[in-house]
C-alpha cells in the first residue's frame, strides 16, 4: 500500500520529464543548429584555410595574423564599430529622458509612446533609404533646414564626406532604435515602487538625488538589457550601412559586420570571415562582461 504513491510519483515525474523534453526539443534544436553550432564552426573555421572546392587544412593562427598585422581595413572597421558602440549609451540616455517624460498620467501619453516607437518596426532597408534621402544635398530635409536656418551657407555632403558619414549613419540608427530603448526603460520605470519616491520626498531629498539614488539603481536590469541590445545593434546595423553607404566613402563607415559580409560572400574567403566573426564576438563578450560589472555585478531579475 505504501509503495503505490511513490510509484505514482515516479511515473508522474518521468512522464513530466518526457513532456518537458518534448516541449523544449524543437526550440533547442533550432538554437543548437543555428546559433551554437555555427559559433563553434566559426571558431574552428577561423583556424583553417578553406576554399569551397578543396578540403580544409589547419593553419593555426594565420588568419588572425593577417587580420591583426596586414589588414588596414580591419582596424578601420574595428575603430568604426567602437565609435558605433560608444553611441549606444548616448541613445540610451536620450531614451531614458523620453521615457521619463512619457511616464506620467499625461493625457495622450500612449499616443506619444506609439509615435516614438513607430520607427522600430520599420524595415531597416527602408529606414536607410529614407535617411539617405534626408541627407541628400539637394532634396534632403536636413540640408534644407540647415541652410534655411542660416547655419551653413552651402550644402554638406553628409554621406560622402569622410568626417560626417559615420555620425550620419549613427543618427539614423539612433532614430530607429530609440523607441525600443524607450519601451524597455519605460517598463523598468513603471516597476519602481512609488513608495520609495514618497519616502524620499518626505525626507526632503531634491529631485536630482531622487533620480540618482532611486531611479538609476532600480533601473539596473533595464539598463543592462538596453546595453546588451545596443551592443547587438552593432551587428544588426548591417542592413543600415549596406544600403546607406555600403561601407562609406573609402571605408569610413565600414563596420566589422559589413566587412565580414564582404569577405565571406564577396571574396568568398569563408575562413578569414570566420576569424573576423570570432574577433567581433570576443569583443562583444568582453563588453558584455564590462557592462555586467558596471550595473553592479547582477544582471538584474534573471531568475
Amino acid at each position: 500500500m505504501r509503495s503505490r504513491p511513490r510509484a505514482r510519483t515516479r511515473l508522474r515525474s518521468r512522464r513530466r520529464a518526457a513532456v518537458v523534453a518534448c516541449f523544449l526539443a524543437p526550440s533547442l534544436l533550432i538554437f543548437i543548429v543555428y546559433r551554437i553550432l555555427p559559433l563553434i564552426w566559426n571558431v574552428v573555421l577561423s583556424f583553417q584555410a578553406w576554399s569551397p572546392l578543396r578540403p580544409a587544412t589547419w593553419v593555426g593562427w594565420d588568419n588572425y595574423d593577417e587580420m591583426l598585422n596586414d589588414d588596414d581595413v580591419f582596424w578601420q572597421a574595428l575603430w568604426n564599430t567602437v565609435i558605433f558602440l560608444a553611441s549606444q549609451p548616448i541613445a540610451i540616455a536620450l531614451a531614458l529622458g523620453v521615457a521619463m517624460l512619457v511616464n506620467s498620467d499625461l493625457k495622450g501619453a500612449s499616443v506619444y509612446r506609439t509615435i516614438v516607437f513607430l520607427s522600430y518596426p520599420l524595415m531597416t532597408v527602408a529606414v536607410a533609404i529614407i535617411w539617405h534621402w534626408m541627407y541628400n544635398e539637394r532634396g534632403g530635409l536636413i540640408n534644407y533646414a540647415l541652410r534655411q536656418l542660416g547655419v551653413v551657407g552651402h550644402p554638406i555632403a553628409f554621406l560622402d564626406s569622410f568626417a560626417w558619414a559615420l555620425p550620419s549613419t549613427i543618427v539614423a540608427n539612433t532614430w530607429q532604435v530609440l523607441g525600443f530603448f524607450m519601451i524597455v526603460l519605460l517598463s523598468g520605470l513603471q516597476n519602481i515602487p512609488p513608495h520609495l519616491y514618497e519616502a524620499a520626498r518626505v525626507d526632503g531629498a531634491p529631485a536630482r538625488a531622487r533620480f540618482f539614488r532611486i531611479t538609476l539603481p532600480m533601473l539596473r536590469p533595464a539598463l543592462f538589457l538596453c546595453l546588451v541590445i545596443g551592443m547587438l545593434n552593432s551587428f544588426s546595423a548591417f542592413d543600415l550601412i549596406y544600403v546607406m553607404t555600403n561601407g562609406g566613402p573609402g571605408h569610413a563607415t565600414e563596420l566589422l559586420i559589413t566587412y565580414i559580409y564582404k569577405q565571406g560572400f564577396g571574396s568568398t574567403r569563408f575562413d578569414y570571415a570566420a576569424a573576423l566573426t570570432v574577433a567581433q564576438f570576443a569583443m562583444l563578450l568582453v563588453l558584455t562582461w564590462i557592462a555586467h560589472r558596471a550595473v553592479g555585478g547582477n544582471a538584474g531579475a534573471i531568475e
Binding site: R16, A17, V19, V20, F23, L24, P26, S27, L28, I30, F31, V33, Y34, R35, I36, L37, P38, L39, W41, V98, L101, L106, S110, T114, I115, V116, F117, L118, S119, P121, M123, T124, V125, A126, I129, I130, M134, R138, G140, L141, R147, W175, L178, S187, Q190, N191, L225, V228, L232, F235, S236, F238, V243, I257, A273, F281, L284, L285, A301, E303
Partner: protein, 267 residues
C-alpha cells in the same frame, strides 16, 4: 505649468521622430523635380501616379507574397515553439537552471555572427532558395520564450493545481489554462516575430538565388540599382513597402505595448 512643458517637449520629440516619415511621403506624391533646390515643404501638385509606375516596374505582388509566406511560417512556428518551451521552463525538472542559463547566453550570439555556417548548413539540407530555409533560423527566439515564461509564471498556482487534479495532461494545461490567460504575451510574441521576419534583410540576401524568391527588403534594395529618375518613384516604392508592416503593427500595438510594459521582459 509642468504639464505644459512636458507636452511641449513631447511634441518637439514627436515632430523629430515623424519628420522622416513626412518627408518621404511628400517626396512620393509630389510632381516636382525632387532634386531641385530648394525643395518645397509641401508636395507640389500631389499625384499618385508614382505608385502606378512602381507597380508596373517591379514585381511588388511577388515580393509581398514571398514576405507574407515566410512571415506566416515564422510567426506560426514562433507561437507554437515558444509557448511550448516557455511552459516547459515553468515546470520543475532537473537541469532547469542550466537550460535557462544556456538560453540566456544564446541571446548573446547575434544572428550576424552565424551567417557563414548557417548558410553552409542550410545549403547542406538543400533548403537554399526555399520558404522553409528562409524561415528556419527565425522559427524560435529566446526573448519570446522568456516573455511566455514570465506570463506563465504569473498564472495563479491554484488554477494549475486544480487542472492537474482534474487529470489534465501538460499539453491541455498549456492550451486550456495558460494560453487564454496570456493574450498580451501572445500579442507581443506575434508582433515581435512578425517584425523580425518581415524586416529580415541579411538572411534572404544570402539564401535566395532566384529573383522570384526574394522578399520585400531585397526587392527594395534591388530597386536602388534601377535608373534613378527625377520623380519620387523610389520613395513611392518605400511607402508601398512600409505600408503592410505599419498596418499590422498599428493593429496590434495596444496589446503589444501592454505585453511589453507589464514587466514581461525582465531578464
Amino acid at each position: 505649468m509642468r504639464h505644459k512643458l512636458r507636452h511641449a517637449a513631447l511634441v518637439a520629440i514627436s515632430v523629430i521622430m515623424l519628420a522622416p516619415f513626412y518627408w518621404v511621403l511628400k517626396t512620393a506624391v509630389t510632381s516636382e523635380n525632387i532634386y531641385e533646390y530648394p525643395p518645397h515643404l509641401l508636395p507640389v501638385r500631389p499625384q499618385l501616379f508614382n505608385f502606378v509606375d512602381v507597380w508596373y516596374l517591379i514585381p511588388f505582388p511577388r515580393y509581398l507574397f514571398n514576405s507574407v509566406i515566410v512571415s506566416l511560417i515564422a510567426v506560426a512556428g514562433n507561437l507554437v515553439l515558444n509557448a511550448m518551451a516557455g511552459y516547459a521552463l515553468t515546470l520543475p525538472f532537473i537541469g532547469r537552471r542550466s537550460v535557462i542559463i544556456l538560453l540566456l547566453s544564446c541571446t548573446l550570439i547575434p544572428f550576424q555572427a552565424t551567417i557563414i555556417p548557417a548558410y553552409l548548413i542550410t545549403a547542406h539540407f538543400g533548403l537554399l532558395d526555399s520558404y522553409l530555409g528562409l524561415a528556419l533560423p527565425l522559427l524560435s527566439t529566446i526573448v519570446c520564450i522568456f516573455i511566455f515564461k514570465a506570463s506563465f509564471d504569473a498564472v495563479p498556482r491554484s488554477l494549475i493545481d486544480a487542472a492537474r487534479i482534474d487529470g489534465l495532461g501538460e499539453l491541455r494545461i498549456l492550451l486550456r489554462v495558460m494560453l487564454p490567460l496570456s493574450t498580451p504575451a501572445i500579442a507581443t510574441n506575434v508582433v515581435l516575430s512578425f517584425i523580425w521576419s518581415w524586416n529580415n534583410f541579411l538572411w534572404p540576401l544570402i539564401i535566395t538565388r532566384s529573383p522570384d524568391m526574394q522578399t520585400l527588403p531585397l526587392g527594395l534594395a534591388r530597386f536602388l540599382s534601377y535608373m534613378e529618375d527625377t520623380t519620387g518613384a523610389l520613395y513611392a516604392f518605400v511607402v508601398m513597402v512600409l505600408a503592410p508592416g505599419l498596418l499590422v503593427f498599428l493593429m496590434a500595438q495596444s496589446a503589444f505595448m501592454r505585453g511589453l510594459t507589464t514587466g514581461a521582459t525582465k531578464g
